[in-house]
Symmetry: C2
Subunit: 345 residues, 2 copies
DNA sequence: CTGAAAGCGCTTACAG
DNA sequence: CTGAAAGCGCTTACAG
């Protein structure tokens, strides 16, 4: 580190002052074109790159974003949800010449971590992915007035910036689709009630029942934790109540549900039909392939980043909300393609 | 940001100089115990956290690590490989009070990204995960003398610090195991030749054949890209040459291989046995459950981080290598558990 | 054990 | 359009 180039060497080599070099670095228009070219050439030739810490100190501009992911949600880590999201964020960062710092919000270290994020003076804004409903990170961020955007809406602070899909409507439509295929006893394996996506999808399920004038049957409603194991376990419980179709609030849980059905000797979709949520890469390759609600995770990461950059640039007083579209991907588990499809009601 | 606390306020409130506050922050033993307590109390009460950029500038200590992951390896992003690795890194960082910056090495932005990492003056060291064999990041890091450790050994620079498993021996043992189960025509779907893990596992396969005095048959050797799609495609090709068992160099590819076999009407393990590599979460839940070589990915992340911290603390002149153990997890696809198991040779 | 002061590498009014 | 100088918030010899 000792002998790294500084702005001073660049100034000398280009025959200008440090101020001018700094202006060139920051694309200040008030620099004579020739001067600019000359300085740029020198920086190129000497392979100079300004010290980020120094810029951060002097100007408060670091071009660094923070990404916070709650560890509580173990499903995020057995799925490729997380890689997809990060790819989207990274793509946007690359385009805008930003970098990102990553924190996994382990409850044990949460307090210290929040302080780090919030007080480091290093981060211009943060993206919070799939926060738990009462996540303290959100509170801390609000207090400190740091620009941030949520991936997944907040249950109570409805005026925060976020990007999300319409979980409720997507779930409702998926369930209505099952009903249109003729299923009479449509159950659900919901997500956890402390995650807004879980709550929204369950409400969507109930909306669908209501549309058809059906009262929700508690026996047909199970709550999983978005994981394979959770889906497995809850499917076993549901089995006692003889559903003929299940809307499963995540693909990982759908995987577990299929395992439970296999073990119970039930055929999918003939004995029980299934619809998942997410359209994870593996969904196309299950046996039989999984019908599921596709949500654009990569895109969500990308859009969240751009939203955050806009917030940073234009001030946080204009929170933005982006709802991304979902799509029901019809494969085999819903039974739409089998010869013996039940009649449409 | 404007009105954030600085060391000056802390100094005033505790009746000492900035120097002393700084010493307290940095756990300098040359501070009177009472003074230390007093200053600490003030910092606590005022919820003060030193500015990371300023510390970085003044001392070069940022407590920030970099993590670089090549985008070229798409399999890393459809698997949960990446989340597991990051969880390990994050756990170690939390313990040592470090943070991490993340870069996905998109080829398009690679040059600029390298410069960012290397010249930012912000990062104390970096972890490079699963670099491609000729990854330019590694060269840049070597040149700039930044401490770094690889997850997965380097093919040519054998004196770099890394943590890895013994891919070659693990693969050999897996193949020998298949042979002991009585399989005569053991094929392999190898990983890509531009990744060291791919190369090492293929060599392990060949080692096993050699041990048994069998010449490798090019028709029984396919090269995949570690992805599900690759496994699917290569399994279809292998099928023409009638293997009775296949060592598949990743679980994702094994998933694809199983799909190809299902479509071809082959039963696993009765018609063709399979062994994977990784023991991803889904491996226990395939139909039938996948026998596979478990590698401790989370642990690799953890150990890589600690290795890096040691390198940073004690100087980079003593590169360290850590080989983590693997374990063959015997489930159903190898056929060990079926009633009709072939006789041991 | 403590403080005054120089310095880390930039940015940014201010004056010209 | 350009430069001199103060300042960002810390750390660290140096002197006592």
């Amino acid at each position: 580190m000792s002998n790294r180039l500084t702005i001073i060497e660049i100034a000398k080599h280009s025959g200008v002052s440090r101020s001018t070099v700094s202006r060139v670095i920051n694309d200040d228009p008030n620099v004579n074109t020739e001067t600019r070219e000359r300085v740029r050439a020198v920086m190129q030739k000497l392979n100079f790159h300004p010290n980020v810490a120094a810029r951060g100190l002097a100007a408060g501009k670091t071009r660094i974003l923070g990404l916070v992911i709650p560890m509580g949600v173990s499903a995020l880590f057995s799925d490729p949800y997380f890689p997809q999201l990060i790819q989207g964020i990274s793509a946007a960062c690359n385009q805008h010449n930003y970098s990102t710092m990553l924190w996994l919000a382990d409850p044990e270290y949460e307090r210290r971590m929040i302080q780090q994020i919030v007080s480091s003076g290093l981060i211009e804004g943060v993206i919070v992915a799939s926060a738990l409903n009462d996540d303290p990170v959100v509170e801390a961020l609000m207090q400190r007035q740091i620009p941030f955007v949520l991936v997944g809406r907040h249950p109570t602070h409805t005026n925060l910036a976020y990007v999300d899909v319409d979980n409720r409507v997507s779930a409702r439509d998926a369930v209505l689709y099952l009903m249109r295929l003729g299923y009479q006893r449509v159950a659900t394996i919901a997500g956890p009630h402390n995650m807004i996506a879980g709550v929204d999808r369950l409400n969507g399920y109930k909306d669908a029942l209501k549309t058809r004038g059906i009262a929700p049957d508690p026996n047909l409603i199970a709550e999983g934790d978005f994981s394979e194991g959770g889906g497995y376990q809850e499917m076993q419980r549901l089995l006692r109540h003889a559903p003929d179709a299940v809307f499963v609030a995540s693909d990982a849980m759908a995987l577990g549900a299929m395992r439970a059905l296999r073990e119970a000797g039930k055929r999918v979709p003939d004995d029980i039909a299934l619809v998942g949520f997410d359209d994870m890469p593996f969904a196309a390759h299950t046996e039989p392939p999984l019908t599921t609600v596709r949500q654009p995770i990569h895109r969500a990461g990308f859009v969240a980043t751009e939203t955050l950059l806009a917030l940073i640039a234009e001030g946080a007083n204009a929170p933005r909300r982006v709802i991304l579209p979902t799509e029901l991907v019809i494969r085999e588990t819903c039974g739409a393609h089998r010869a013996s499809a039940k009649p449409t009601v």
